[in-house]
Symmetry: C3
């Protein structure tokens, strides 16, 4: 499949020319974000003081903004780094963790998207709905809505994703049982992954960091988003298959996800990727 | 044993109705706290900005306050979240990490207990002594005092725990070689666990988070505290038994503790729990 | 070899009298720093509020300062803690993560070394060059320069390390393919380790924490630095050898590094250490 070959070429490029990925993120999953960046072949740098983010991002190939443990200090650094990245044409990805759960998160998520041009935004359904302006219920930072892949509801979600992408001239990624990736014109549905990934904190954040790596390794934002989604999904599957579920659980699963990303091969992508273009 | 059945029922309820557990904690062990919350069956949310904690805690089933890396900003968020939880009858557990080591920790630990009504407080002996107002020596954040389970000293500690529980109308948990859990009337001694747990950072914090999950899954604070203590203790034992100690050490042990919590079964609780009621 | 025996004696002392190691560090790798401190036999305490660092460090056997996610609040705590450690003759180690990447990091790194007397400074080549005042290019927080162990360039680096050590009356450690450890007079080259360590975030930070443990366990700063470097290097080697590289990657490797430090034995040090004195 042609799209698989494009993903493989991008992964090869990532590993041959490790992008420096500047990440301003949350303190819950930051270590996993750094380790998965290294595992896929990138080079992470976490820096968030307002005095250095403009300079740091200018050295980077991409910028990841994740508001998981947002506070009134780092939000300013996120905006500053994002604006500087925009000036330099460095792609920015936003993970609007937990928007909809509190007014503070929603306001700041919307502030970022209004002040920073995003290459990609990745969230679960309720987060993306909130960012688009649809009232929804976000319960904490976990997915709180899902949908059947064949339902009318799913059709509506894809329509929303396209509209969002067009309105903000960005790539929208909604992760769920079936992931939606669209730039408003092309739309991919990807159905790799394993439901146990929801039992490890930060698999969403890690996915965002992996997309950040791909963004820094090429110049096709839609492809980068798709490559990140498929890579994480396949890693979740292979990690699960290697789990001795009688005695191993989410601790070992988390370790094996990193291992799987580290060892992700071209043949696995060809054999396993489940992508539908619509 | 009747108490085991109560624990099993509570665990089942936790897994069937995952409580959202709001945690304001330290940045050393926060990832482990989130992962163990997911492993036992809960849903963690870490949020600490003063602008959102009141709203976030109102969505939660319980609140965990852990002062491991306390600072002058988050202390205000802890108090705010705690007060709001009290208004809404959402149970609050405090882990007074390191009180006694510095005046700053002691003052803030005491400030929390004076301004927030606690469902449970969990600490090691020197931390609990300090919180109760007895002069002691806390060396860093680790247990610095212990006692023989049969000694006069142990009898005195149980008496102190009861008095503390009555004075503050809370459940007091002192973890050590033998754990003490009391609401001032009933007192349990639990002796599960393995001494190697002290060689992994955050096993105490994780225990507090697990109790937080049980608090969010029922309405019996004493039972929740006991269930958390027994769950962590059994997990430590089974994790140790699955360790190949010739080549595996604290790194693998930590992973296996998460696995053991994830796989914790009714039959393990029945077979392994070591609880004495006094 | 005499030097191996000195390392072994120091390790034994560390394990028999666990030093309390106060660490003011970054939030990316802080959990690994705490766990490796426990694994080698030390006792970590992370505390960074300005109101408690003077008191906390006075309880400690050594102080680790790591500027990986430096900000304008913690820098003041680092300086305060460092000055207090100096007053009490408690050894201080600095890990100047990322200096050279931004002006902010460079300025603050230099501020620390001008205000705090360091027992040891550990960094990669570009960080140490920057701290010594040589213009270089630091790309993010990873090693961006390296050298052939036999080259003229390597000879110049050793000379710089000696001069740095003399100028600041400290022990200088440059980690790379071959590690340089010098107090300005004696200079050791150590060549343990495995290149895969660069694919796990925080192996440098962990190395600094391990040196911090050895500093707290004896009174010979040069020996402590060498012992830390050799311990981490051997752990990296044995961890790699125990890796099933067909399916395991950086996730498992990280866990096994902690295991290897936990199980580090006298015989491994004797059999594996690669130290040259110059």
């Amino acid at each position: 499949m042609e799209i698989n070959n494009k993903i493989i070429t991008l992964l090869k490029n990532l590993r041959e020319n490790p992008p420096l990925v500047h990440q301003i993120t949350n303190y819950v999953t930051v270590n996993d974000c750094a380790n998965i960046t290294l595992a896929i072949g990138g080079s992470p740098v976490m820096a968030e003081d307002i005095h250095e983010v403009r300079e740091m991002v200018s050295l980077a190939s991409s910028l990841v903004i994740n508001i998981g443990t947002l506070n009134s200090v780092t939000i300013e650094s996120m905006i500053e780094a994002g604006k500087r990245a925009n000036e330099l044409n460095i792609p920015v990805i936003l993970d609007p963790v937990g928007v909809g759960a509190t007014a503070y998160r929603t306001e700041n998520g919307k502030r970022i998207i209004s002040e920073v041009k995003l290459a990609v935004i990745r969230g679960n359904l309720s987060e993306i709905k909130t960012m688009y302006g649809i009232e929804t219920l976000t319960r904490g930072v976990d997915a709180s809505e899902s949908f059947e892949a064949s339902s009318d509801e799913f059709t509506r979600e894809k329509e929303m994703a396209r509209n969002f992408a067009v309105k903000f001239n960005t790539v929208v990624v909604i992760t769920g049982e079936v992931d939606i990736i669209t730039d408003g014109k092309t739309l991919y549905c990807a159905s790799n992954g394993h439901k146990m990934m929801a039992r490890v904190t930060g698999t969403g954040c890690m996915c965002t960091s992996v997309i950040g790596c791909y963004l820094g390794a090429g110049d096709n934002n839609l492809l980068a988003a798709l490559a990140g989604i498929v890579s994480m999904g396949i890693a979740g599957e292979t990690a699960y298959e290697r789990l001795d579920t009688k005695i191993e659980g989410s601790g070992t699963f988390r370790v094996k996800i990193l291992d799987a990303i580290y060892n992700l091969s071209e043949s696995e992508i060809i054999k396993r990727s489940k992508i539908n273009e619509e």
